[in-house]
């Protein structure tokens, strides 16, 4: 009986959330009560393999790889219906964007390819200060290595050309955002 009062040597369990990128997203959805309002409000849920409600739960269980194998977060069109309606007030649209960042950094080749659209867009912004729609789409086509992709845009391209809307765009701000991009990059690498 004496032993009962002897302090037990207690080794703290290893921290569960060593994965900072995952922990950031988990903190955004921690209070999810699994009501499913997000799924019911999402205009694109019909095309998702994981319902948003399911995905939040899986993230909280730490099933990062399983979530990164799904295409759900790539189908978010940032309409903010889920964020508006979430009874817990969770930033669900921002969590979808955070998952896109995570998938670009840690995901497989499929995920990295899906991230190209956003990365090419921002590279164009960094170079030109103001996005040049046509130059961006041309770079995107090249980066995707899909010879059929530009053909899909053929009809739209011709329509825009006919309306005088297919031009190089504003180059007055070229290079203007270089210092800000560089600074943000160094701050993000440091943190």
């Amino acid at each position: 009986m004496k032993n009962m009062h002897t302090p037990i040597a207690f080794t703290p369990a290893p921290l569960v959330f060593q994965d900072e990128a995952l922990a950031e997203i988990q903190s955004m959805v921690r209070a999810c009560m699994q009501c499913g309002t997000c799924t019911a409000s999402c205009p694109n849920s019909f095309a998702m393999d994981l319902a948003p409600r399911q995905m939040w739960r899986m993230l909280l269980f730490g099933l990062k790889q399983e979530v990164l194998e799904s295409r759900t977060f790539w189908l978010c069109s940032s309409c903010y219906s889920c964020t508006l309606r979430c009874p817990r007030g969770l930033p669900l649209t921002a969590a979808m964007a955070a998952l896109k960042r995570l998938a670009a950094a840690e995901g497989d080749a499929v995920n990295r390819k899906k991230a190209l659209f956003y990365q090419e867009f921002m590279q164009n912004v960094e170079q030109n200060g103001r996005i040049q729609e046509m130059g961006f789409m041309c770079h995107y086509f090249l980066a995707m290595h899909d010879p059929l992709l530009p053909l899909e845009y053929g009809p739209l391209g011709l329509k825009l050309l006919a309306k005088g809307k297919l031009h190089l765009g504003d180059s007055t701000q070229r290079g203007r955002l270089g210092p800000l991009f560089a600074k943000v990059r160094s701050m993000e690498e440091a943190s």
């Binding site: 069109s77 912004v125 103001r130 800000l180």
Partner: protein, 291 residues
């Protein structure tokens, strides 16, 4: 009334008619615009999937310029994505104390800093709340009587922040449409997402939304939008959405310009991709009736 004007990138290229009609209509309404000098891209909806800090630093740069170059003025933004990006800076800084410091550290790269004083306003908010339907009605020389107009608000002007309209049941365009003599087409698709950039990354999915919106607009003469991305998605992909009848999709200030009797160079209707003969006929009938 005077505002600091942030046109955004689209309005300089594919949405030129939105820029020109906005400037012309506001001039007629006695609203003065001062374009923010040296403005740059806000990152649109592509920046958040790339960098969290850049998501706030890019619009903060424009806000800092506004604060310094246009002190005391609200920032007027016609594009809904630009609007939300700029609006978010203040909203997120209010809930995260470390954020203003980080944003200003980034802006320091250019010797800028932002104190959080700029109020960000959507063009629709300014037209509906500051100008108001009475002042709009006073400028109408060519009543649009008999024209059925479906108001399309899209997403980011309404959500997630409910500032000037009910995000579930938006109505803010209705008094403006009525002020022109036109009829408001009753539907519940005004706040339904158009698919946004999924049109580039997952067109099959975006086309489902576009088809649903266009189908619901059957019976209206024209859809009116306040966002260049919504306008492009609803207008440019009608045949791919297997939509039988084409319908014109105008920007709200273009519709105002028609009722104000502005010139073709001021409304730039010929820049729209889907200007239908049916709408042209209706507009001629309106003109004949009011002449």
């Amino acid at each position: 009334m005077k505002y600091a004007y942030y046109p955004g990138c689209s309005l300089g290229t594919s949405a030129e008619e939105y820029d020109v009609s906005t400037r012309e209509v506001l001039k007629r309404l006695g609203v003065e615009l001062s374009e923010i000098p040296d403005w740059t891209c806000c990152g649109a909806s592509a920046v958040e999937p790339v960098s969290r800090l850049l998501t706030l630093a890019l619009p903060a740069r424009n806000l800092a310029l506004t604060e310094r170059e246009c002190p005391g003025l609200d920032m007027l933004v016609p594009c809904s994505a630009c609007y939300l990006n700029h609006l978010r800076v203040g909203r997120e800084c209010a809930t995260d104390r470390a954020l203003p410091g980080r944003i200003n550290e980034a802006l320091g790269a250019e010797g800028l800093s932002y104190a959080g004083k700029v109020r960000v306003r959507h063009l629709l908010d300014v037209l509906a709340s500051d100008v108001g339907p009475k002042a709009v009605a006073a400028q109408v020389s060519h009543s649009l009587e008999g024209l059925s107009v479906a108001p399309y608000y899209g997403c980011q002007a309404l959500r997630p922040f409910a500032l000037f309209d009910d995000p579930e049941h938006p109505r803010s365009m209705e008094p403006l449409i009525s002020a022109l003599g036109a009829t408001v087409f009753g539907w519940d698709m005004g706040g339904r997402c158009c698919g946004a950039s999924l049109m580039a990354t997952r067109r099959d999915v975006a086309l489902v939304s576009v088809a649903a919106i266009l189908d619901a607009a059957a019976g209206a003469d024209v859809i009116v939008t306040v966002c260049p991305m919504c306008q492009m998605n609803l207008e440019a992909y009608q045949s791919q959405a297997h939509h039988a009848d084409t319908i014109s999709v105008l920007y709200l200030p273009q519709l105002l310009g028609l009722a104000f009797g502005l010139s073709d160079e001021q409304t730039l209707l010929d820049k729209n991709l889907a200007m239908t003969d049916a709408l042209k006929g209706k507009l001629r009938a309106c003109e004949a009736a009011s002449a």
